[in-house]
């Protein structure tokens, strides 16, 4: 008697779970690029004095220092004469929940070159492979310190060493560093869709091929912090945005 | 002991040497914890936690277990022995229950293993001692089947009882 009841209960649970799951799956419809007709572009500026870039102290590894005639400058905040900020990660924070995006097959590559990371900030999609390459003739280790994804700590003792990691959770941004050369720091943003950009030297960014709709756009900078704006784009429309960070 | 007796070709002692050795290593174990305690308490973050009275009350249960087990050892008749053994087992289980309650009370008071080193030691020690007590319960069953082993069984219970008393005093005084 009781056993039957329990079995029924179990079956019920299973059904519920199944339904729940399928529903969750149906939540997003597969992304169709043809829908991407709108665009958001713009600029990120710093209001106030640009912090001075100091030379990087590579004392702990002469081999690194040897690779640069001019001492490298810190890349924490790179600001142009007109106050335009480089290496700001701009992405669509909200507004694309309805879609399910497929991660591209080709990996995002992070280089370790001359004892610094290239690029300083990189964006990768959930599930997309993130390839870390050591192009230096010396050992590095890549220590990812994510908050949501799982931590990784890989030693790359020899030139040409390559490792691939993938991320399961959206996370803007995680810090990745080399413990052997403490000055080596890079940031990786994990996003669920391809609509992100990293500002160039002139501080500009462009998010093209967006479906029409209302979005929350966020700009993230490692030192200056975050700021977000709401923007509504119609079909075939392209809006301009300007983010301004207050200098500290 | 059977094999030992046969091997030795003489009667085996009532408190097997093996048990003595085991008690030796058990005492070493708790001594090590005590020593670590003394080292650890010298550091700056040492915040004493006052233990709930129940921790002391539990001692009575241990004492009860020892007494009943002692009686079990002395009673010749099978069924009386059984009764006393059952009583001992109950006392033992009650003690374990009591200890869990103590830990629960501490949690309720917001004191967890990581709250302060003092608390950490209390938790670790009660767990390690609890494990020994569970072993003691196993020994009871064995003793019930092999009356010859009851004496050793009792010695074990008395010892871990005394050890716990000593530890409790130690960590509340120091």
């Amino acid at each position: 008697m009781t056993s039957r009841w329990t079995s029924r209960a179990l079956a019920g649970l299973c059904v519920a779970a199944l339904a729940n799951w399928t529903w969750a799956d149906a939540a997003g419809k597969p992304w169709d690029p043809a829908m991407g007709t709108a665009a958001v572009k713009g600029k990120v500026k710093l209001n106030g004095a640009a912090p001075k870039r100091k030379p990087v102290d590579m004392g702990s590894d002469p081999a690194c220092a040897g690779m640069h005639q001019e001492p490298l400058l810190t890349e924490t905040t790179i600001v142009g004469d007109a106050g335009q900020i480089k290496n700001v990660f701009v992405w669509v924070k909200r507004g694309l929940e309805g879609w399910v995006f497929k991660a591209p097959a080709e990996p995002v590559v992070l280089e370790q070159k001359g004892c610094q990371y290239v690029p300083r900030v990189s964006g990768v999609m959930v599930g997309q492979s993130f390839k870390i390459r050591n192009s230096d003739p010396l050992a590095h280790n890549v220590h990812g310190m994510p908050k949501l994804n799982s931590e990784f700590n890989i030693g790359q003792a020899t030139q040409g060493g390559e490792n691939v990691v993938t991320f399961t959770e959206p996370e803007v941004c995680m810090k990745v560093k080399c413990d052997i050369h403490g000055w080596m720091v890079t940031y990786v943003a994990v996003v669920p869709h391809p609509f992100f950009a990293i500002t160039a030297d002139d501080g500009t960014f462009a998010l093209a091929g967006l479906p029409p709709g209302e979005y929350v756009i966020e700009a993230w900078h490692e030192k200056l912090g975050k700021s977000e704006q709401v923007v509504k784009v119609e079909d075939k429309e392209s809006k301009d945005l300007e983010f301004t960070f207050e200098g500290k | 002991m059977h094999a030992a007796a046969m091997a030795a070709g003489r009667r085996a002692p009532t408190v097997p040497l093996g048990l003595v050795g085991f008690l030796g290593t058990t005492i070493m174990l708790f001594t090590t914890f005590a020593a670590s305690y003394l080292v650890r308490r010298t550091s700056a973050d040492w915040r004493p936690v006052d233990l709930p009275l129940l921790a002391w009350a539990n001692l009575a249960l241990l004492a009860g277990a020892s007494v009943t087990l002692e009686w079990a050892c002395r009673s010749a008749a099978r069924e009386t022995r059984g009764k006393w053994l059952a009583a001992t087992a109950l006392f033992g289980l009650a003690f374990l229950g009591g200890q869990t309650l103590v830990l629960a009370q501490l949690r309720a008071a917001g004191i967890f293993a990581q709250t302060s080193p003092h608390a950490s030691f209390f938790v670790v020690l009660s767990l390690v001692h609890g494990v020994h007590l569970v072993g003691g319960l196993g020994a009871l069953v064995y003793g019930a089947l092999r009356p010859a082993a009851l004496r050793g069984c009792a010695v074990f219970w008395h010892t871990i009882g005394v050890i716990w008393l000593a530890l409790l005093v130690f960590i509340s005084v120091m």
Binding site: D57, M58, G59, S60, D61, P62, T74, T76, A139, N141, N153, G155, K177, D179, I180, H181, G182, W183, M184, V185 | -
Partner: protein, 274 residues
């Protein structure tokens, strides 16, 4: 019962092996691969090591000589002579190694080792230059107190590997002029130096072979290493405590400069927040 025993041949080879072993051992230690020593206490440590090499070397050779002799002389099969136990002789014989060993060992410790030990862990000379070296995976971070002679406050929460590896507190006036360097400890020649050693994460060990200095760096506790570098030059700092996958790359340098050069150099270094 027949068994293959090639007595003489074995004795031959074994004796030869012991002979070669003895020669190689002595030769190897005689080659003395130690890096040149540049500190006074280092010289006394080397003295102690030389003493040990001589006495243990002699005993090693002696022991093996006897062993070889016995192996050679007493090889062969068949019954040996019976001698009943002679406890007295045995105890007396035991006295020889007891006296010899106790003598050698304790002389080494009491007469040669303890003075150095005292020198290393004794009080720091008043005129010593106090520097701070912090070990972190996998770098040595050097800090000078700057003009004010005071080390500024540090806070783990402020640590930023790239910009502020020690987590110096910008609001602490004492911290402003602290000089922070990565991996290179620059010190004056011929002046006593006291290094305060801290660790930010796991255990490390501050080892400068040329100085005969090795001091573990314990997290949550400031250790001290003191020495007088006598010869200007560039020496390596090794990490001598397994500290993670980059342990083998945790290399630093000691730059010993002429006293006046050092003063000039230090004056030129910008403070942390200047």
């Amino acid at each position: 019962m027949k068994r293959t025993t090639r007595g003489s041949a074995d004795a031959h080879y074994l004796t030869m092996f012991f002979a070669v072993l003895t020669v190689v051992t002595v030769a190897g230690f005689a080659m003395d691969f130690r890096p040149a020593v540049v500190t006074p206490h280092g010289r006394s440590i080397d003295g102690l090591i030389n003493y040990l090499m001589v006495v243990t070397g002699l005993l090693f050779v002696l022991g093996h000589a006897v062993l070889m002799h016995f192996v050679w002389k007493y090889q062969g099969e068949g019954p040996a002579d019976y001698t009943p136990e002679k406890p007295r002789t045995q105890w007396l014989t035991a006295l020889i190694p007891v006296i010899v060993m106790a003598g050698i060992a304790e002389v080494g410790v009491l007469l040669l080792a303890l003075p150095v030990w005292g020198e290393l862990y004794g009080p720091t000379p008043k005129d010593a230059l106090v520097v701070e070296v912090t070990g972190k995976q996998f770098e040595w971070i050097v800090r000078y107190s700057g003009a004010d002679g005071k080390f500024g406050k540090t806070d783990p929460k402020l640590v930023d590997d790239a910009e502020n590896p020690l987590g110096l507190d910008e609001n602490d006036p004492a911290a402003q002029d602290d000089v922070v360097k990565r991996g290179v400890l620059t010190i004056p020649e011929g002046k006593p130096v006291a290094v305060n050693l801290r660790s930010l994460d796991v255990l490390h060990s501050f080892a400068v072979p040329a100085f005969r200095i090795k001091q573990d760096v314990l997290t949550g506790f400031t250790a001290r290493a003191q020495f007088v570098p006598e010869v200007a030059g560039r020496y390596e700092i090794a990490c001598a405590e397994l500290c993670g996958l980059g342990h083998y790359k945790m290399r630093g340098f000691v730059e010993v400069r002429k006293a006046d050069e050092f003063v000039k150099w230090l004056a030129d270094q910008p403070g942390m927040f200047e």
